[in-house]
Each structure stands twice: as C-alpha cells, then as structure tokens.
C-alpha cells in the first residue's frame, strides 16, 4: 500500500455550524455544493452552499419532510434525491429543472426503503439500492423512474456510483463477508472486487476522469478517506487529524475533494486538494 499521507494544511473549511451533515456534491461546475443537513432534530434538509461567498440556503425551501442524498447530472440540469413520504417510507424523486417536471420511483407502501441514488453524467439513468428478499440490491432505472433492472442478486449491496463515462458502477457489497468495494459493468456483469480487508469500505466516488475512486474505510479504527485506481491498485490514505472523515465527493476539476469531517465533535464540510 502506498501511504503517502499528504498533510491537510491546505484544507478549506466550507461550513462552520458544526451540525450533522452528509453527502455533499458539487454542482454547477463546482460553483456550488448541495448537501444534507440535520436542520432540526426531526428533519433533514437539502442545502445549497455557494462557494464564492459561503452562503447556505435551502435547496427546497418549501420542503416539510426529510430529504437527503442528492445526486446530479454533470450539467446539474437533472437531479434525484430521496424523500420521506411517511412512516419509514422513502421514495426517489427525479427532477428535471429545465422541464420543471418530477418523476417518482415508488418502492411501495408500508416500510419501504430506497437509498443512495447515483445519476449518470448524462442524466438519463439512476442507480440506487433497495431491499429485496435476497438482501439489498442495486437497481437501474431511467430518468422517468421506469424500466427497472436488477444489477445484483445476493447479499447487501449499497452505495452505487456511476462512472463518469456511464459504463461501470462502483458499489459496496457484503457478498464476501463484510462491506468491500466492487465494480461492475452497467448490465451487472464482470464484477471485480477492489478491496479486501476486515473493515468497512463504503461510499465509492469516481474522479471526474474515471481514473480514481475515493471511498470511506474504517480499516484503521476510524472513518477515513482512501483513494485507489479502479482496479484496486495504488491505494492512498488521506492523512487526517479528524475524528471522522466521510462522504467524500470530487470537484469537477478532479484536483479537489469535498468531504464531511468531524473535528472536535463538530461536523463540517471541508475542501481538500486531492493527492496527485
């Protein structure tokens, strides 16, 4: 393993409120960040952060229910997010901002879970994770929430991520015992295992050029960010003084990362240079 451990002296703190937050994603060419905020003890809200002035405002100011896990097309024209619709019932909303139109993928009534959507760069497809009788599987749908295809078959599979060229899906799976990172083709074929260790390897995130994957691992006893090539080689650990680094995403320039770091008990967004 290549443990170059770059220092974090040039990290930039983007928020200062310390509240719980998750799943940042750059939009509009890196000018803004959308993330999930624990706004109140009873509601999460999607927030929009403008990098230029640090201002933060609700993405959907009218939302009265919890929303989280936003994912965008490369041009930020189309996005998807999970919305709570009642008693432990989650739905996927697909929103086209140009047409001002929503499509909904509804996993059903009662206890129903859909998590971790990831949108293709062209905005035409979404992968997500949803339970079935065999565990929790990765599914593919189109931008209208239709034409569902099951991409995995067994065990718990989660945190799918579209490669920038739309040809592969990186994801985590417990198929070999605990959560490790895998990659598969868009039809679910040619699955390759990229990590092998007893800790959790979760939340893979592709670099914009598709040549690297960042992910979270607790292999050293705390949640940290690692980066590797899509074949699992050249593993690099990001040095940290945080209690927890998690929810990593790439800047469109491919040279910077954004993550949620928990430092001194406070959770905030930080931008850090990606290791070369």
């Amino acid at each position: 393993m290549n443990s170059s451990k770059p220092l974090r002296t040039d990290e930039k703190r983007l928020t200062t409120d310390g509240k719980l937050k998750w799943d940042p994603v750059f939009i509009n060419g890196g000018a803004e960040v959308v993330f999930t905020l624990q706004e109140t003890p009873t509601q999460t809200r999607l927030m929009r952060l403008k990098i230029i002035d640090g201002s933060v405002s609700p993405l959907h100011s009218e939302a009265t229910t919890s929303e989280f896990e936003a994912t965008y097309s490369a041009d930020s024209r189309v996005y998807a997010f999970v919305q709570n619709r009642g008693n432990l019932n989650l739905k996927l909303i697909l929103r086209d901002t140009t047409k001002k139109k929503d499509a909904i993928f509804d996993p059903g009534s009662g206890f129903a879970c859909i998590r971790r959507p990831s949108m293709s760069a062209d905005g035409n497809k979404v992968v997500f994770s949803m339970p079935n009788a065999a565990g929790q599987q990765i599914y593919l749908i189109d931008s209208q929430g239709a034409n569902r295809k099951e991409l995995t078959r067994t065990s718990l599979n989660n945190w799918p991520a579209f490669s920038p060229d739309g040809s592969h899906i990186a994801f985590s799976s417990s198929r070999d015992g605990n959560f490790d990172i895998y990659v598969m083709e868009l039809d679910g074929g040619k699955v390759a295992r990229l990590t092998r260790n007893p800790g959790m390897d979760i939340r893979p995130a592709w670099s914009p050029d598709g040549r690297r994957l960042a992910f979270t691992s607790n292999r050293n006893g705390r949640y940290q960010i690692f980066i590797m090539q899509p074949d699992g080689s050249h593993l690099t650990e990001l040095a940290t003084d945080s209690d927890r680094d998690d929810y990593v995403a790439w800047h469109p320039d491919g040279r910077n990362l954004i993550l949620v770091a928990e430092k001194k008990g406070r959770s905030d967004l930080y931008q850090i240079p990606a290791p070369i």
């Binding site: 009873t42 919890s66 432990l88 206890f111 339970p131 718990l156 015992g177 607790n218 705390r222």
Partner: protein, 443 residues
C-alpha cells in the same frame, strides 16, 4: 413544598435521617417512617444518582454489543468484529471507542422482555412490571424520586424533546403511572448546541431560565398564566408551577442546566449532537445530585420520518443508519460520558445503564434490516459499584435466545432500586417490583 433545604446540604452530602423524614413529611405522597427507616438501612451502599440512557426504538444487539461472527450471513450481518479491552470479548466495528473502554463497564447479553410492541415493552422495561393491566406501575425514576428529597432541582428529570412514543401512542411507563402525574419526571430538552428549554412550560411563552432572573417578576408571570387556565387544569398547574418556580428561580438549578458553562473541550468531547449535549447535561445534573436522570434517545438523531419518535427502530436502513449515525454518536457520547464521570470522581456514586426496550431480529428481514426481538438483548452497566470489564449472560449462537438465565426488566428495576437505597423491605412497603431479584452478578 419542594425545596427542603440548601442545595449542598441535602443533595451532595447525602440524605441524613432528619432530612429524609422531613422530605417525607413534606412530599404530597411521601414515605412513611417505616419506609424511610428501611430505606435508610440501605444507605451505606446506595448510589447518589442513577442515569438511564434510554435507547428508545431498540438497538440491534447483533450489530453492536453481541455480534455473531460465526453465524450464517443472513443472521451475522455485514459488520466485522473488533477486540475489546476485555479478553475474549468482541464488539462490532461500529463501536471502537467503547471497545477500548470495556474495562469501564459490564455488559449483560441475556436481557429479555415479554412483549414485541414498543410502547408495551417500553413500559415493562421502564417499570419492571410485566402486567400493567390493572394500572401502570411507576417508572424506576419515580420510585427513586419518591424516596429522595427534591431541592431546587426535581429528583427525577427526563432529558428529551418529549416522552418516548411511536405512531400508536406514548410509552405509558414514562412516569408516575398509578401514583399520579405528580411523580412524572420533569422534562427538559437540550439541543445540539446545548440550549436547554422546558417543553412542559411551552404554555409559558417566553419563560426560559436565561430570561428569568427576578423571582418577583417570574411569580407575576406565572400567576398571570395561571389565571388563563381553566379549573380542571389547576391541579396540574400547581405542581408545574412549583417545579417551574423552583427550577427557574434557583441559581443552582439554572447553573446546573446551563451546559454552556462547560469548558469547550468537554463539550467537544461529547460532540455537537442533541444526544451528546443531553448526556453532558445529565452529567451536570449528576454533579448537582439529581437522583434519577433518564436521557431519551428518540427524535434526536432519527429524522428520516419527521415527527415520529423512532429512535433505534431500524425496520429499514438498519445497515446504513447504524454505521452512518447511531453507532458513531453512541460510541462517542457514551465514551465521553463514562470518561467524564470517572475523571470527576462521580462514577462510583452514579449507576449508569444504557439499554433499549428489546433487541432486534437476528435474522435479516426482507427489508434488509431487523425487526423487533424481545427474546434477548443487551444492557450496559457502569459505576455504582458495578464490577467493570465483564460480560454477564450469553445469547445463543444466532443471538435469538438467552443461553443463560434471562435477565428480566423486573430484575433490572430491582437492581436499580436496590442500588438507589430501596431494599426488599422498602420495595415491599411501596408495593413495587414484588419478587424481583438483584442482579448480584454485576457487583
């Protein structure tokens, strides 16, 4: 009357006979002299405070403190195990800080409840009474508070946004039950940044500890509000007013409730979450010698379903929720709480219990999560004379049933009361928890 004397003399120096009897005479439903005598006999071994971290919703035992690494995948789940400081004992990877502090507490892995519904099981777990058909028995905290004099702070405080509930209603065992609402806990809420408010006084718009420095002004405000209430509410109001008055006008009480007085490093150790700052508030209440504090983990961190109080009820997204939020928060906060009590010399005089109302189904459900499982679950015990660094009881290889004697809610309650100074005679005289046995293995 609530105020029975000076803050320090009657709370921090223990309860002497005179003070105890005085409190009994003054309390509306106080103890008899015999009851007091019996309680005093247990004085020497009793703890000053009890703190229950109530993990409402029911945490998965298999994914936390009782992993089954050799079980089939459909039971085991995806989490690896890590060693603890206790030889041969492993937790899941989600609890590294607590694993490194397993010498600070003892774990019971053979708890058992007798109902699979939250509110019913919650009532059983909080009262120790298996049959509440004839009326709800009092919460352990209500019993402890009855035998302890209140000061400027109530003897039984609950920290939370409200009393735990699910969609069908509240857990009935949250408070005084048959003994009446006067024995309910006094509810305070602490936000993620340590702002404390008193939900039961929401009718008193604008009245908060920070706003009210002047006793006369407060009294005037309270009287004004009282006049607005109808007669049916007066009884409840009197009690509320007394408590509110004592709480809001006492410098000691205000000080205890002001989490922002803590050093920044201490607040950071607990973390900026409501549960974290609530546990810090609990430690301050322990320091102020409050007899019984119940911190309710409920709407603090579970917000996927707004305004439903699910807590650890992970029927869906169990395998996301635990690693993302619940376990990191519990791991940090409980570790900080135990460290803090230890460093301040408070752990030995404080009995700390962390538990939910039951466990979760060892077999993973079709929702890729875990449902209710009353047959076996865990509880964590620290301080208060508990011999730490051990595991008591054992569940079977799949985590479905106890292999050893089941530890029942009655036994849990009996043990709490015994350590709080209520021996068998005192319990009998109060007609609570008949037939329960103390979990002697803990001590």
């Amino acid at each position: 009357m609530i105020d029975v004397g000076s803050f320090k003399a009657h709370l921090c120096e223990g309860v002497n006979r005179r003070a105890f009897l005085k409190a009994g005479l003054l309390a509306p439903l106080g103890l008899t002299a015999t009851q007091a005598s019996s309680a005093l006999a247990a004085e020497s071994k009793k703890v000053r405070s009890v703190v229950l971290l109530w993990l409402w919703g029911a945490p998965s035992h298999v994914d936390t403190f009782d992993p089954k690494p050799n079980a089939p995948a459909e039971f085991r789940g995806p989490f690896s195990t890590i060693p603890t400081r206790t030889p041969g004992v492993r937790f899941t990877e989600l609890l590294p800080r607590l694993a490194s502090r397993s010498d600070r507490f003892t774990l019971i892995r053979s708890n058992r409840n007798f109902h699979s519904g939250h509110t019913e099981a919650g009532t059983i777990a909080l009262t120790g009474a298996l049959d509440n058909a004839a009326g709800i028995q009092p919460n352990f905290g209500s019993i402890v508070a009855k035998g302890r004099p209140a000061s400027s702070l109530p003897s039984f405080l609950a920290v939370g946004r409200g009393f735990p509930r699910d969609v069908v209603g509240p857990v009935k065992g949250y408070g005084g039950g048959n003994w009446g609402k006067v024995h309910d806990p006094f509810l305070v809420h602490c936000s993620d940044v340590g702002d404390v408010d008193i939900p039961t006084l929401k009718l008193l718009d604008g009245l908060t500890p920070s706003h009210l420095q002047d006793r006369r002004e407060l009294l005037k405000e309270l009287d004004s509000h009282q006049r607005k209430l109808d007669q049916a509410e007066i009884g409840k109001w009197d009690n509320t007013r007394d408590k509110a008055y004592a709480l809001l006008t006492s410098p000691e009480a205000r000080k205890a409730l002001d989490v922002t007085r803590e050093k920044e490093a201490v607040r950071e150790a607990y973390g900026q979450t409501s549960f974290g700052q609530s546990c810090l508030l609990a430690r301050r209440l322990v320091e102020a010698c409050v007899s019984y504090v119940q911190v309710n983990w409920s709407q603090y961190v579970e917000s996927m379903t707004p305004n439903c109080d699910f807590g650890w009820d992970t029927h869906i997204y169990n395998f996301e929720m635990l690693p993302d939020r619940h376990c990191p928060i519990l791991d940090r906060v409980l570790s900080a709480f135990l460290d803090d009590l230890q460093q301040r010399g408070l752990l030995e005089s404080t009995l700390v219990i962390a538990m939910g109302e039951f466990g979760r189904s060892p077999r993973i459900t079709p929702q890729a999560a875990r449902d209710h499982w009353p047959n076996v679950y865990f509880s964590l015990w620290a301080g208060g004379g508990v011999q730490p660094g051990r595991v008591i009881g054992e569940s079977d290889r799949l985590g479905q049933e106890p292999l050893t004697e089941a530890i029942t809610p009655t036994m849990v309650g009996t043990t709490i009361l015994e350590r709080a100074g209520f021996d068998a005679q005192a319990r009998a005289e109060l007609r609570v928890l008949p037939g329960g046995r103390v979990i002697h293995e803990l001590f």
